[in-house]
Every structure is written in C-alpha cells, then in structure tokens.
C-alpha cells in the first residue's frame, strides 16, 4: 500500500507570540523542515492614502506620520521634501540639519528596538531588557526636543517646529556618549556569545546574487553585500553636508544582519556629533503657499528599514490628489517565504525578525480592475458600506 506523505500546514498568526503585529503565515512542513510558505497581510489596513483625499496638505502631514510608529519622522520628512519640491520652496539649512538630527536619533531608537525584539525572539530576554533600558535614553532625548516619545511631529511644511537649545545640546552629547559605550558592549555580545551564535550564524544565508534577485533593500540587503543606501546614492535634506559611510557585510546570514545594524548605530552617533558641532544658524521655517502648484513628484528617503518611496500628485488646490507610499518591508517580506524553505520550523521567528518587519507600514490597498475593464471610483460612503457588508 502506497502511503502518501501528508503535508501539514501550520498557520501562524494573526495573533501569535512570535509576532508583535498581526499577519497570517502558512507553512507547509514535512516533519520539522519547511517546504512551502505563504503570507496574507492586510490586518492593519487603515486607508490612509484615501484619507488624504479629504484633508488639506497640512492635515495630511499629521495623518501620514501615523503610518508607522517606529519610523514616523522619515515618513513626514519624505512628504515634506516632496511637497516643498513641488512648491519650489527652499528650506533654510538649519531646518534641514535638525531634520537629519532627528532622523538619525530615530534610526538609533529603531535599531535598538529591533535588537531587543530580535533577542526576545531568540529567547535572550536579558538583552531585550538591557537594550530597551538604554533605548529610554534616546526616548527621553526625543521627548526633550520634540515633545512626544512616539509620533513626534517635528516637521512642518517648510521647516521644523522645534529648535535645539544649549542644554538640549548638552543632553544629547551625554546621551550619545553613554549609548556608544553600551553599543560596543552589545557588538561584543552578539559576535562572541556561542549560544546566540548557534541561532544566528548560518541561518537564512543569502548570497549576493540571490539577494539581488529577491530585491532585498535596506540593512537586510547590505548584509548580503548589496551596496545601496539612499543617503549615499542620492543625498537628500542635509546628507550632502554630513555624509554617511556605507556599511556592508558579505556573509548574508542573520549574524551579518546584526553586525550591519549595530555598525550603522556607530555611524549615526558620529553624524549626530558632527551636526551638533557645526549646526548652521538661521531661520527654522519658510513660508509655504496654501495651494501647491500642479505636478507630480517622487521622493526617496532612507528609513531605518530600507528605502522609502513617496509619489505625490497635486492638482493645484489645497488638498492632495494622490499620495502613494511604498514602504521597505514589502519587498523584504517576499524574501522570508523563499528563505524559509529548508529551515526548521523553530527558526522561522528569527528569520522573520531578521528582516525587521513593520507590518503597520505594509498594508496598502490594491485597486483590482474587474472583468469589465473599468476602474470603479468609490465615494467614502459607498466604500464604508462595502466594508461593513463584506465582513458581516
């Protein structure tokens, strides 16, 4: 009698101890080895892109900041850069420098958050507690500068809202010195602790050719040797005055991703000190027109997770016509499905955390043309009723 090997399908999520945010994964396993994988997203879709249609340019800024809690400042920066380019307005250099300062502080906070969460997934809760304790230093600095711990609205259209005073300057320097010493300790822990290395070395190895084919971006791609960084290739805001070094690694496994992100932290500390030393004098904002000229523009910035891409279209009124956002986690997510094949089931949380997923950024709506070939444009009320009926 022929016995078929039954493929088991294990669903993970949307609520699962390995996931911090909801997403639905299905892995087909043969024993403990994964043979196939698929993903289903969309559990935190908020319709932000549709929400910008009814609000004017300034209100949309506060709405777009809330796409992601961890990388909220770079979303606002990308939007502001795009709109200022459309309006043809030149932002004063002090404002650009402060934007870069807050962006680098946000990168520090995001990488420390990721370090703690990745360690928690590996079972290393001690590192989680230590790195989040040190992260409180950055949160206090950001609260001192901008007023909020998460979703800090430091940007306004045409500049920044908050200035750096002398005692904040002093506090930032002290905080960065403390963090640099702690980061050296973490680098040593991550590269030399044998029990941790057993979980990260050799897991999810991505050679450079495969990484290029899968389209990995951000620190995940740089860990495989792809040397792309928007801050270096196409400098925006004040990055041409304060250049950043490109950090890559060649191994392509999880350990390389840890090393790349921690080395990026050292670069961030250096840039923050450089900005504080040479902050240019001047105004903080410039006057923006209420109606933005017609046109389309594209702006790319480097979020802590990769390249963030904004497409902004204006039709001359005081509300945006269309804003499209492409976040960096979306291409990296596809690589998880490919890389998971061949690994054991227990490695899956580590592989998923290795790409630094941010599920909130991910959920975009795709307009599907129905068979008639026409794109139905729905009003707010019809869409809301459709949503209620669909999930009844």
């Amino acid at each position: 009698m022929q016995s078929k090997i039954d493929k088991f399908t294990i669903p993970i999520g949307p609520q699962h101890p390995a996931l911090k945010e909801p997403g639905h994964f299905e892995f087909s396993v043969d024993g403990e080895i994964v043979t196939d994988a698929s993903v289903r997203l969309g559990y935190v879709h908020r319709g932000i892109e549709k929400g910008t249609e009814g609000r004017n340019w300034v209100q949309s800024l506060y709405l777009l900041e809330r796409i992601c809690g961890i990388c909220s400042h770079v979303h606002a920066t990308a939007y502001c850069l795009g709109v200022e380019k459309l309006a043809g307005v030149e932002v004063p250099p002090r404002a650009q420098a402060i934007r870069v300062l807050v962006a680098e502080l946000e990168r520090v906070h995001s990488h420390m958050l990721w370090l703690g969460v990745a360690a928690h997934e590996a079972g290393f809760d001690t590192l989680f507690m230590y790195s989040w304790r040190d992260r409180e230093t950055v949160m206090n600095l950001l609260e001192g500068i901008t007023g909020n711990r998460v979703n800090y609205s430091a940007n306004v259209l045409g500049g920044v809202k908050c200035d750096i005073s002398a005692e904040q300057d002093e506090a930032i320097r002290q905080g960065v010195d403390f963090l640099e010493e702690r980061t050296r300790h973490y680098l040593e822990v991550v590269t030399s602790d044998m029990m941790f290395l057993r979980r990260t070395r050799g897991v999810a190895t991505t050679p450079k050719a495969q990484a290029r084919e899968l389209g990995l971006i951000g620190p995940t791609g740089r860990a495989s040797g792809i040397s792309h960084d928007v801050r270096v290739d196409a400098p925006y805001a004040a990055y041409d005055i304060y250049p950043v070094k490109l950090i890559t690694a060649t191994a392509g496994d999880l350990e390389a991703r840890f090393i790349v992100r921690i080395n990026e932290l050292f670069e961030s500390y250096r840039v923050i000190r450089q900005i504080l030393d040479t902050l240019p004098e001047g105004e903080l904002t410039v006057r923006m027109p209420r109606r933005i000229k017609e046109g389309e523009t594209v702006s790319r910035v480097e979020a802590p997770r990769g390249e963030l891409f904004y497409f902004i279209k204006s039709n001359g009124t005081d509300t945006p016509e269309r804003i499209k956002v492409r976040t960096p986690t979306l291409p990296n997510m596809a690589s998880v499905l490919v890389l998971a094949i061949g690994h054991q089931l227990a490695d899956i949380p580590m592989i998923l955390t290795g790409i630094d997923p941010c599920f909130s950024c991910n959920d975009r709506m795709v307009v599907v043309k129905d068979s008639g070939g026409d794109n139905r444009a729905m009003t707010w009320e019809a869409l809301r009723q459709y949503g209620i009926e669909y999930y009844r």
Partner: protein, 160 residues
C-alpha cells in the same frame, strides 16, 4: 444570593471575603498579548525595565487567551481583524476585563473611514479607555490603576 443568605448574620465574614477575592484578582492579573500597532511599542516599553509592569503582578504576557484575564487592545482594529478579536475574547475564561489603549482602539482615532472599527466597544465590552496617541507608559499604568480601583468596588451580591 445563597451565600449572603447563609452568612447574613456574620456580616464581617462576607466583607472580608469580597476584599480578599478582589485583592487576589487585581494583584495577579495576566494580560494577553494583543499588540497591533504603534501602541504595542509603548506597551512593550511598559513591560521593560524603566516602567515595570510586573510590579502590578503582570510579569508574564500570556500569548494564549485561555491563560489570561486582561486583554489590552493596543492599536487599531481593522474590519479584517475584528472577527479574530471577538474569537479571542470568547476564548478567555471568566472573569475577564478589556482595556482599550490609545485613541484608535477607543474610538477610531484619526482614522474615521471604511477600514477601521470605530471603537472596540462595537465588538467587545470595554471597561477602561486610555486616551493618547500613543499613551505614555505612565498613562497606561494610570489606566490599569483605574481598572484596579473599579474591580475593588465589586460586591459579592453581583457574582454569587
């Protein structure tokens, strides 16, 4: 009903039993991991060492609904996620409480549109609403303390 009748003369005993049960319930409440979005970051921050939540007895964030008492809905609930939320709430054993953390869980927040449930109390009964976008860790702890004070007002006549 039955207990109060039988022990009616010994009023001292019933009051102490209420206090003891309420004290036990508030001091060992286990939250369920239900972080959805940016508020989840502040909830994890409350769990970390600077604003420790395990001082209130919530050391373990239980992933399984069968082992938890308190569901902290942290973040926005979309219409796709709503049946999942209801199913998890039904799986929790009694007594159970729900704390709605942040603007988006309490009333939809900034997102007044087709995809977000306008307030989790459309689906599950909520005990405490904590405002903020996202609420500070101290604000969340103040919400938990408000919930504890509400539980301490519970009387035996309600649940016997």
């Amino acid at each position: 009903m039955g207990v109060t009748n039988k022990l009616g003369e010994m009023g001292v005993v019933t009051l102490r039993l209420e206090e003891a049960v309420n004290w036990a319930r508030t001091n060992a409440m286990w939250p369920m991991l239900f972080g959805l979005a940016c508020c989840a970051i502040e909830m994890m921050s409350t769990q970390a060492s600077n604003y420790d939540m395990s001082r209130f007895g919530m050391e373990l964030m239980r992933p399984s609904p069968r082992q938890s008492d308190l569901m902290i809905v942290a973040g926005r609930v979309s219409r796709k996620m709503a049946p999942v939320l209801r199913r998890l709430y039904d799986q929790m054993p009694d007594p159970k409480w729900v704390l709605s953390m942040g603007d988006c869980a309490s009333c939809g927040g900034v997102f007044n549109n087709y995809a977000i449930v306008q307030g989790v109390d459309e689906i599950v009964p909520v005990d405490v609403y904590v405002a903020g976008c996202p609420p500070r860790p101290e604000q969340l702890m103040h919400g938990i303390i408000t919930l504890h004070e509400r539980i301490k007002q519970n009387r035996l006549a309600d649940w016997a």
